[in-house]
Amino acid sequence: MTFFTIIVRGLWRRPVRTGLTLVGISIGIAAVVALVGISRGFEQSWAMGMKARGTDIVVSNMGSALAPKPFSSSVRDHIASIPGVAATCAIFVDLTSIEDSSMMVVSAREWGGFSWKNLKLLSGRMPNDSMESAVVLGQNAAEVLKKKIGDTVQIEAKELSVVGIVDGGALVENGSVILSLPLYQEISGNEGKINIIDIRATPGMTAEEVKSLCAKINTLIPEARAMPAGDNVGNSQAYRFISAMSWGTSLLAVIVGVLGVMNTMLMTVFERKQEICILLAIGWKRSRIIRMVLLESAMLGFLGGIGGVIIGTVGVKILETLPAIHGLLEPDLSARLMVISVAIAVIVGVLSGLYPAWRSSRLTPSLAMQG
């Protein structure tokens, strides 16, 4: 019988209890996978949206709201004159309730700006001019709003024609209602206001040079903050709050898992008191007993982690198919997240085993005779 066999046999001694403990850890880890995966997926999908628009730098004022705060559109002209800025596109992004849907992204873009260029027409056409009462819908937005070419969509009090369905190359783009900036400024009462400026840096700039350009813009423009594309959402208060909530909820679930494992391992130590004392009597060192208990709890964590990753992934996949969520989620279920989740589970297992291991190390061979 090897050291490893003793560990496995220890866990297998009470299969129902071990199974229930594994379910507890798995649920905790599934929460980590699902919640963190969803919040990171949100951030990545914004970053992909920026990339799809060919944006290197985003200038915005991300406050506590999900949509950035508006500022004067004259800021765009100021930025355009800064050396290193190859092109700019002024945008007004809004989150608003449209018709029967609760919240939709409305992306109003400077007419002729480069952010229109990445949109691939799937059907219909683009608006003919900046003031045509028309929108194009990202393919997911069309699905959510149940609209096709020729239908109308009402934004604020204005009825606009759906003239095209587009593939924007990223979830955020595909979930947006896209129209020209001057048209939206007029119908939303935001004349002369924008809340995002997409910037293309001079071709060939390194990441460091892009960062320096951001710093330069930030010294010249107090109204908003320039950040390399993809970093801006991660730095918004709203996203930080969502992210913190995800980790906080996951942490609670993990704490429940810790208590479950600790309880199981304590019970194991109490039940196997005689066995442990005999092992000490036949010459096992206390450190080896501690190692045995810690490895048992680490294995519980590892198996629970694997189970959690599977449950979390399947759960998120099921969530994605629900009609209310379909097209709105693009979770980041990367291998990195899976490895982190399993590592958390193993660490949880080891930490939970510390107290039971310490208790087991305090047993003496003579206790074996007391029964």
């Binding site: 608003t96 009402q154 604020e156 009090a157 939303s188 009462g189």
Partner: protein, 263 residues
């Protein structure tokens, strides 16, 4: 283990002492603060309203735009339906000055403009009456704190408001469950003259507005006697907007104007 328990007890007793040291506002002060938050000048609001009729019929959804000018002594509010298409343009103007019972006009496209009947009538078939929109019960004369209760895991003070002699209301009293930290009512119950519960309004989502203050982002209004329910989901709010006086006249509500620019 003992050390941990002692430490935990010390921390919790310190927290308790620290909280106990914060003086709770008096009923009058609390009501005055809430009243000031409600009567907070001019604002533009966009929201989605869904009315679920008694007996479980299909929900009717509306997109509404609200223009309001609220001061300490007067209230002017315009509710306009902007969606669905077949109801777009319907509008209601409500006004109240001082302690009068309120009055208003209703516009039904294409050209029916009439004064409102009774203030207890329903707003666009919802569970809100015109009086509910106008009334600021936090400004009523009689305000009492009648207890505390946990609502949605938040410890709330229960504020009871009763109209004074000169204050007109269809309700004999209103109870509000106030989250003192965010200064937001999480539940409101309105009672008839026979003390029967007429409306219950719940909030499950509190968000920050454009001025960084906490406001209810959604409301569910239930009429226990009728069995119907209405939900309101806010999507936009702009404070400090400028309106023309004509927008708060019966003629002015015939037209749906775009949201005003914020300063």
């Amino acid at each position: 283990m003992k050390t941990i328990l002692i430490l935990a007890a010390a921390v919790s007793s310190f927290t308790f002492t620290a909280r106990a040291a914060e003086p709770a506002p008096s009923a009058k002060d609390l009501a005055a603060s809430l009243s000031a938050l409600q009567q907070d000048g001019s604002a533009f609001v966009r929201l989605k309203m869904a009315v679920k009729p008694a007996g479980g019929g299909p929900k009717t959804a509306f997109q509404l735009q609200i223009k309001q000018r609220r001061t300490k002594s007067s209230t002017e509010v315009v509710y306009q339906v902007i969606w669905p298409k077949d109801r777009a343009g319907e509008a209601v103007l409500l006004r109240q000055s001082g302690n009068d019972g309120g009055s208003g006009s209703q516009f039904l496209p294409p050209n029916t403009l009439r004064p409102l009947g009774q203030m207890k009538d329903s707003l666009f078939g919802s569970d809100l009456s015109y009086a509910d929109v106008l009334e600021n019960f936090f400004a009523w004369e009689n305000q009492t704190i009648v207890g505390t209760e946990v609502v949605d895991r938040v410890n709330c003070q229960i504020l009871e408001s009763k109209p004074g002699k000169d204050q007109h209301s269809g309700y004999s009293g209103v109870r509000s469950w106030i989250d003192l930290r965010r200064l937001v009512p999480l539940r409101i119950e309105k009672y008839s003259a026979t003390s029967a519960l007429v409306r219950r309004i719940d909030t499950t989502d509190v968000a920050k507005d454009d001025m960084g203050r906490s406001i209810p982002a959604n409301l569910t209004i239930q009429s226990p006697q009728k069995g119907s329910a209405t939900s309101l989901e806010g999507s936009k709010i702009k404070h400090g907007v400028t309106y023309k006086d004509s927008e708060f006249t019966p003629e002015g509500i015939k037209e749906i104007t775009p949201p005003p620019s914020a300063p």
